[in-house]
Assembly symmetry: C2
Homo-oligomer: 113 residues x 2
Amino acid sequence: MAESLQDWAVGALQALAHDTRLSVFRMLVQAGAKGLMAGEIAQKLAVPPSTMSHHLASLERAGLAASERESRVIRYRADYGGMRRLLAFLMEDCCQGDPLVCADILEIAACGR
Amino acid sequence: MAESLQDWAVGALQALAHDTRLSVFRMLVQAGAKGLMAGEIAQKLAVPPSTMSHHLASLERAGLAASERESRVIRYRADYGGMRRLLAFLMEDCCQGDPLVCADILEIAACGR
DNA sequence: TCTATATTTCGATATTTCTCGAATTATAGA
DNA sequence: TCTATAATTCGAGAAATATCGAAATATAGA
Protein backbone atom coordinates (compact mmCIF):
# COMPACT_ATOMS: atom_id res chain seq x y z
CA MET A 1 0.00 0.00 0.00
CA ALA A 2 0.89 3.65 0.48
CA GLU A 3 1.74 4.17 -3.14
CA SER A 4 1.26 7.67 -4.44
CA LEU A 5 -0.19 8.44 -7.84
CA GLN A 6 3.26 9.68 -8.84
CA ASP A 7 4.85 6.36 -7.87
CA TRP A 8 2.25 4.53 -9.87
CA ALA A 9 2.83 6.78 -12.87
CA VAL A 10 6.58 6.15 -12.75
CA GLY A 11 5.86 2.42 -12.81
CA ALA A 12 3.49 2.79 -15.74
CA LEU A 13 5.99 4.86 -17.69
CA GLN A 14 8.73 2.38 -16.87
CA ALA A 15 6.56 -0.38 -18.27
CA LEU A 16 6.08 1.55 -21.50
CA ALA A 17 9.71 2.63 -21.77
CA HIS A 18 10.86 -0.46 -23.60
CA ASP A 19 10.74 -1.24 -27.28
CA THR A 20 8.97 -4.59 -26.98
CA ARG A 21 6.54 -3.52 -24.26
CA LEU A 22 5.61 -0.32 -26.05
CA SER A 23 4.85 -2.37 -29.17
CA VAL A 24 2.74 -4.77 -27.13
CA PHE A 25 0.82 -1.96 -25.47
CA ARG A 26 0.07 -0.30 -28.79
CA MET A 27 -1.03 -3.61 -30.26
CA LEU A 28 -3.41 -4.07 -27.34
CA VAL A 29 -4.72 -0.52 -27.55
CA GLN A 30 -5.41 -1.01 -31.22
CA ALA A 31 -6.92 -4.45 -30.72
CA GLY A 32 -9.61 -3.02 -28.46
CA ALA A 33 -12.01 -5.16 -26.47
CA LYS A 34 -11.15 -8.47 -28.08
CA GLY A 35 -7.52 -8.22 -27.01
CA LEU A 36 -4.82 -10.67 -28.07
CA MET A 37 -3.53 -14.03 -26.84
CA ALA A 38 -0.10 -14.22 -25.19
CA GLY A 39 1.31 -16.60 -27.77
CA GLU A 40 -0.04 -14.55 -30.63
CA ILE A 41 1.74 -11.48 -29.29
CA ALA A 42 5.03 -13.32 -28.76
CA GLN A 43 4.91 -14.75 -32.26
CA LYS A 44 4.04 -11.47 -33.97
CA LEU A 45 6.94 -9.71 -32.30
CA ALA A 46 9.31 -12.69 -32.60
CA VAL A 47 10.15 -12.74 -28.90
CA PRO A 48 10.64 -15.98 -26.90
CA PRO A 49 7.59 -16.93 -24.80
CA SER A 50 9.36 -16.59 -21.45
CA THR A 51 10.67 -13.14 -22.30
CA MET A 52 7.27 -12.04 -23.52
CA SER A 53 5.68 -13.40 -20.37
CA HIS A 54 7.85 -11.09 -18.28
CA HIS A 55 6.91 -8.13 -20.43
CA LEU A 56 3.21 -8.91 -20.25
CA ALA A 57 3.48 -9.28 -16.49
CA SER A 58 5.18 -5.87 -16.31
CA LEU A 59 2.36 -4.21 -18.21
CA GLU A 60 -0.19 -5.91 -16.02
CA ARG A 61 1.57 -4.98 -12.78
CA ALA A 62 1.75 -1.42 -14.05
CA GLY A 63 -2.00 -1.30 -14.51
CA LEU A 64 -1.84 -0.91 -18.28
CA ALA A 65 -3.06 -4.36 -19.27
CA ALA A 66 -5.28 -7.08 -17.90
CA SER A 67 -5.24 -10.82 -18.50
CA GLU A 68 -7.91 -13.46 -18.47
CA ARG A 69 -7.49 -17.18 -18.91
CA GLU A 70 -9.65 -18.79 -21.57
CA SER A 71 -9.10 -22.49 -21.23
CA ARG A 72 -5.51 -23.07 -22.32
CA VAL A 73 -5.02 -19.61 -23.69
CA ILE A 74 -4.48 -16.32 -21.84
CA ARG A 75 -6.01 -13.24 -23.38
CA TYR A 76 -4.52 -9.81 -22.73
CA ARG A 77 -6.34 -6.53 -23.12
CA ALA A 78 -5.26 -2.90 -22.72
CA ASP A 79 -6.43 -1.31 -19.49
CA TYR A 80 -7.92 1.93 -20.75
CA GLY A 81 -8.50 3.14 -17.21
CA GLY A 82 -4.79 2.96 -16.51
CA MET A 83 -4.02 4.64 -19.79
CA ARG A 84 -6.45 7.42 -18.98
CA ARG A 85 -4.96 7.91 -15.50
CA LEU A 86 -1.48 8.15 -16.92
CA LEU A 87 -2.35 10.68 -19.62
CA ALA A 88 -4.32 12.73 -17.12
CA PHE A 89 -1.39 12.76 -14.71
CA LEU A 90 0.99 13.98 -17.41
CA MET A 91 -1.34 16.78 -18.47
CA GLU A 92 -2.42 17.92 -15.03
CA ASP A 93 -2.45 21.70 -14.72
CA CYS A 94 -0.91 21.89 -18.16
CA CYS A 95 0.82 25.23 -18.74
CA GLN A 96 -1.63 27.09 -16.53
CA GLY A 97 -4.36 26.83 -19.11
CA ASP A 98 -2.66 29.02 -21.65
CA PRO A 99 -4.22 27.96 -24.95
CA LEU A 100 -1.38 29.54 -26.91
CA VAL A 101 0.99 27.03 -25.39
CA CYS A 102 -0.78 23.74 -25.32
CA ALA A 103 -4.24 23.96 -26.86
CA ASP A 104 -3.34 21.77 -29.80
CA ILE A 105 -2.78 18.89 -27.42
CA LEU A 106 -6.56 18.68 -27.45
CA GLU A 107 -6.57 17.55 -31.04
CA ILE A 108 -4.62 14.39 -30.41
CA ALA A 109 -7.42 13.15 -28.22
CA ALA A 110 -9.62 12.52 -31.23
CA CYS A 111 -8.87 8.90 -30.37
CA GLY A 112 -7.92 7.60 -33.78
CA ARG A 113 -10.37 9.54 -35.93
CA MET B 1 19.93 9.25 -37.96
CA ALA B 2 17.41 6.59 -38.96
CA GLU B 3 15.50 6.77 -35.72
CA SER B 4 11.90 5.67 -35.93
CA LEU B 5 9.09 7.41 -34.13
CA GLN B 6 8.81 4.34 -31.94
CA ASP B 7 12.46 4.58 -30.95
CA TRP B 8 11.98 8.21 -30.11
CA ALA B 9 8.89 7.42 -28.05
CA VAL B 10 10.76 4.76 -26.07
CA GLY B 11 13.40 7.38 -25.28
CA ALA B 12 10.81 9.91 -24.22
CA LEU B 13 9.06 7.39 -21.98
CA GLN B 14 12.40 6.33 -20.52
CA ALA B 15 13.09 9.95 -19.68
CA LEU B 16 9.77 10.24 -17.88
CA ALA B 17 10.07 6.88 -16.13
CA HIS B 18 11.98 8.18 -13.15
CA ASP B 19 10.67 9.79 -10.01
CA THR B 20 12.84 12.90 -10.14
CA ARG B 21 12.53 13.44 -13.90
CA LEU B 22 8.77 12.98 -13.86
CA SER B 23 8.53 15.60 -11.11
CA VAL B 24 10.72 17.96 -13.13
CA PHE B 25 8.67 17.46 -16.28
CA ARG B 26 5.43 18.15 -14.46
CA MET B 27 6.90 21.25 -12.84
CA LEU B 28 7.91 22.49 -16.28
CA VAL B 29 4.55 21.67 -17.83
CA GLN B 30 2.82 23.56 -15.04
CA ALA B 31 5.26 26.45 -15.20
CA GLY B 32 4.34 27.14 -18.82
CA ALA B 33 6.18 29.62 -21.03
CA LYS B 34 8.27 31.22 -18.29
CA GLY B 35 9.89 27.89 -17.40
CA LEU B 36 12.23 27.38 -14.45
CA MET B 37 15.94 27.82 -13.79
CA ALA B 38 18.13 24.73 -13.35
CA GLY B 39 19.19 25.67 -9.84
CA GLU B 40 15.66 26.48 -8.81
CA ILE B 41 14.55 23.00 -9.89
CA ALA B 42 17.42 21.25 -8.12
CA GLN B 43 16.73 23.15 -4.93
CA LYS B 44 12.99 22.56 -4.94
CA LEU B 45 13.46 18.83 -5.35
CA ALA B 46 16.49 18.66 -3.02
CA VAL B 47 18.70 16.94 -5.58
CA PRO B 48 22.44 17.71 -6.01
CA PRO B 49 23.19 19.99 -8.98
CA SER B 50 25.23 17.42 -10.91
CA THR B 51 22.53 14.79 -10.56
CA MET B 52 19.86 17.24 -11.63
CA SER B 53 21.95 18.32 -14.58
CA HIS B 54 21.95 14.74 -15.84
CA HIS B 55 18.20 14.51 -15.45
CA LEU B 56 17.61 17.80 -17.26
CA ALA B 57 19.92 16.66 -20.06
CA SER B 58 17.91 13.44 -20.34
CA LEU B 59 14.66 15.32 -20.72
CA GLU B 60 16.20 17.61 -23.28
CA ARG B 61 17.75 14.76 -25.29
CA ALA B 62 14.36 13.05 -25.22
CA GLY B 63 12.73 16.09 -26.78
CA LEU B 64 10.57 16.86 -23.77
CA ALA B 65 12.35 19.99 -22.55
CA ALA B 66 14.40 22.82 -23.99
CA SER B 67 17.05 24.99 -22.38
CA GLU B 68 18.21 28.52 -22.95
CA ARG B 69 21.04 30.34 -21.27
CA GLU B 70 20.22 33.70 -19.71
CA SER B 71 23.52 35.15 -18.59
CA ARG B 72 24.68 32.91 -15.75
CA VAL B 73 21.42 31.05 -15.43
CA ILE B 74 19.96 28.33 -17.66
CA ARG B 75 16.21 28.34 -18.08
CA TYR B 76 14.38 25.11 -18.86
CA ARG B 77 10.95 24.90 -20.46
CA ALA B 78 8.69 21.96 -21.30
CA ASP B 79 8.66 21.07 -24.98
CA TYR B 80 4.95 20.87 -25.67
CA GLY B 81 5.59 19.62 -29.20
CA GLY B 82 7.40 16.57 -27.84
CA MET B 83 4.67 16.04 -25.28
CA ARG B 84 2.05 16.20 -28.00
CA ARG B 85 3.95 13.75 -30.21
CA LEU B 86 4.26 11.29 -27.35
CA LEU B 87 0.60 11.41 -26.36
CA ALA B 88 -0.44 11.11 -30.00
CA PHE B 89 1.78 8.08 -30.46
CA LEU B 90 0.28 6.35 -27.43
CA MET B 91 -3.27 6.99 -28.57
CA GLU B 92 -2.82 6.20 -32.25
CA ASP B 93 -5.62 4.06 -33.62
CA CYS B 94 -6.96 3.79 -30.10
CA CYS B 95 -9.29 0.81 -29.74
CA GLN B 96 -10.48 1.08 -33.34
CA GLY B 97 -12.52 4.15 -32.58
CA ASP B 98 -14.98 2.40 -30.30
CA PRO B 99 -16.35 5.21 -28.11
CA LEU B 100 -17.59 2.73 -25.53
CA VAL B 101 -14.03 1.73 -24.81
CA CYS B 102 -11.98 4.88 -24.80
CA ALA B 103 -14.16 7.94 -25.39
CA ASP B 104 -13.61 9.27 -21.89
CA ILE B 105 -9.94 9.68 -22.69
CA LEU B 106 -11.12 12.77 -24.53
CA GLU B 107 -12.07 14.44 -21.29
CA ILE B 108 -8.58 14.40 -19.86
CA ALA B 109 -7.43 16.50 -22.77
CA ALA B 110 -9.23 19.51 -21.34
CA CYS B 111 -5.68 20.57 -20.50
CA GLY B 112 -6.15 21.44 -16.86
CA ARG B 113 -9.52 23.12 -17.02
C1' DT C 1 -4.50 -41.25 -16.62
C1' DC C 2 -1.35 -39.97 -20.32
C1' DT C 3 0.03 -36.68 -23.76
C1' DA C 4 0.19 -32.32 -26.03
C1' DT C 5 -0.15 -27.36 -25.83
C1' DA C 6 -0.03 -22.64 -23.76
C1' DT C 7 1.98 -20.01 -20.55
C1' DT C 8 4.52 -18.80 -16.49
C1' DT C 9 8.27 -19.03 -13.00
C1' DC C 10 13.09 -19.86 -11.85
C1' DG C 11 17.80 -18.69 -12.11
C1' DA C 12 21.96 -16.83 -13.57
C1' DT C 13 24.40 -13.69 -16.63
C1' DA C 14 24.85 -9.51 -19.27
C1' DT C 15 23.72 -4.88 -19.77
C1' DT C 16 22.12 -0.47 -18.61
C1' DT C 17 21.03 3.20 -15.57
C1' DC C 18 21.64 6.00 -11.31
C1' DT C 19 24.20 8.80 -8.20
C1' DC C 20 27.14 12.40 -6.69
C1' DG C 21 31.82 14.44 -5.52
C1' DA C 22 35.50 16.55 -8.03
C1' DA C 23 37.00 19.05 -11.84
C1' DT C 24 35.67 22.10 -15.63
C1' DT C 25 33.32 25.75 -18.33
C1' DA C 26 30.74 30.06 -18.75
C1' DT C 27 29.28 34.51 -17.21
C1' DA C 28 29.14 38.85 -14.41
C1' DG C 29 30.91 42.29 -11.57
C1' DA C 30 34.62 44.61 -8.81
C1' DT D 1 42.37 40.19 -14.13
C1' DC D 2 40.52 38.12 -9.97
C1' DT D 3 36.66 36.25 -7.55
C1' DA D 4 32.11 34.45 -7.02
C1' DT D 5 28.21 32.06 -8.88
C1' DA D 6 25.57 28.80 -12.01
C1' DA D 7 25.69 24.89 -14.34
C1' DT D 8 27.79 20.99 -16.76
C1' DT D 9 30.93 17.08 -17.65
C1' DC D 10 33.86 13.38 -15.88
C1' DG D 11 34.45 9.06 -13.64
C1' DA D 12 33.54 5.03 -11.23
C1' DG D 13 31.08 2.18 -7.97
C1' DA D 14 26.24 0.69 -6.73
C1' DA D 15 21.79 -0.70 -8.11
C1' DA D 16 18.22 -2.03 -11.17
C1' DT D 17 16.65 -4.32 -15.66
C1' DA D 18 16.71 -7.44 -19.61
C1' DT D 19 17.28 -11.88 -21.57
C1' DC D 20 16.15 -16.60 -22.38
C1' DG D 21 16.71 -21.73 -21.66
C1' DA D 22 15.09 -25.07 -18.44
C1' DA D 23 11.72 -26.48 -15.31
C1' DA D 24 7.11 -26.06 -13.52
C1' DT D 25 1.99 -25.28 -13.85
C1' DA D 26 -2.60 -25.37 -15.95
C1' DT D 27 -5.90 -27.07 -19.24
C1' DA D 28 -8.00 -30.09 -22.84
C1' DG D 29 -8.71 -34.16 -25.14
C1' DA D 30 -7.84 -39.11 -26.13
